[in-house]
């Protein structure tokens, strides 16, 4: 009986272990994913996955280390953000000081649309309705037509 319980516990513990400690491949693929979203603070237009900078290399190592001890992707990103600020995020978060950044393109297009509508309305129609013939002209026209028949 005792051995059965032991066996069960052993199996359970291995499940728990599997959940908290990801496999080597999983660590690598998640680390790449996280690394691509983190900016290298030395060469600022590269992610830490792309950069050859020594600091980026140390950051990559750190990311892998954190993942293998069970940190979530969000926790690692937060960890870096706490130290280097929003700057380290390659995708800027939607927050008060980035509203302009996120909404300006849409606002510009919207504004231009409105402007276009107003501009189109304001423009005078360039097809003038033809002037009516005067009575004298009509008389002339009638005479010409009659002569022809």
């Amino acid at each position: 009986m005792r051995s059965v319980i032991c066996l069960c516990l052993l199996l359970l513990s291995s499940i728990a272990f599997a959940q908290t400690v990801p496999s080597a491949e999983e660590v690598e693929s998640r680390a790449r994913e996280v690394g691509r979203s983190l900016r290298c603070v030395v060469c600022q237009n590269q992610s830490i996955e792309e950069s050859d900078a020594a600091l980026a290399k140390d950051m990559r190592v750190l990311v892998r280390e954190r993942i293998s001890v069970g940190a979530t992707d969000a926790e690692i990103i937060e960890f870096m953000r706490l130290r280097y600020g929003d700057y380290v995020l390659l995708k800027p978060p939607l927050q008060k000081n980035t509203y302009l950044l996120w909404f300006l393109p849409a606002l510009t297009i919207f504004g231009m649309g409105i402007w276009l509508i107003f501009a189109a309305r304001r423009q005078k129609p360039n097809i003038e309705t033809p002037r009516q013939l005067t009575e004298a002209e009509q008389a002339v026209l009638k005479r010409v037509m009659d002569d022809n028949t």
Partner: protein, 179 residues
């Protein structure tokens, strides 16, 4: 109104760009705003540059105002900065703590033998543990830590005479006056 607009819009556009560039082009993009100000010194457990068996932790920085200076033997700008640190060391106004960053013990020690060692002690940070926790982006970089071990100021780049007398020295005096 429309006529005024039509006549002046290129000028307006120029003005707008001028203002934009006045802000955008005068900022140094390599200087990141520091996240660490007023935070406690991050926890660390690193060894002394000269004595690998001596372990330092964040408690090292309690009780005294300290200037932490991140350097490395590979860092050219650090060599330019070094004479100023030597002078500060001779003045003895503030505790100087060095972080030898991304270096080997041998190279770090040799560099300090050659240029002089101004530090009261040197922490050896081989793989950026402490540097990343401090949000360091390059060397030299310096931090002022108050008596309670909180980071109060960060300076990116060389400590020049100007930076010392106009920025760092006044802050150190303030921090020393704090109880």
């Amino acid at each position: 109104m429309a006529r005024i607009f039509r006549a002046t819009w290129p000028l307006m556009a120029l003005l707008f760009l001028a203002i934009l560039f006045a802000f955008g082009l005068t900022r140094d993009p390599s200087v990141l705003p520091s996240e660490m100000i007023d935070r406690a010194m991050p926890e660390f457990e690193l060894t002394d540059l000269y004595r690998p068996n001596v372990v330092y932790t964040q408690d090292l920085l309690l009780d005294d105002v300290a200037l932490i200076n991140v350097f490395g033997s590979w860092c050219i700008a650090c060599e330019v900065e070094h004479p100023k640190l030597m002078a500060l060391s001779r003045m003895g106004d503030v505790k100087l703590v060095g972080i030898d960053w991304r270096d080997t013990r041998e190279k770090g020690q040799r560099w300090l033998r050659k240029n002089g060692d101004p530090y009261d002690l040197v922490i050896f940070d081989e793989d950026s543990r402490l540097a990343i926790d401090l949000g360091v982006t390059g060397a030299p970089e310096s931090f002022l830590v108050d008596k309670e071990g909180r980071i109060r100021y960060k300076h990116v780049g060389i400590i020049t005479d100007d930076v010392w007398s106009n920025i760092l020295s006044p802050i150190i005096n303030d921090l020393k006056a704090e109880e």
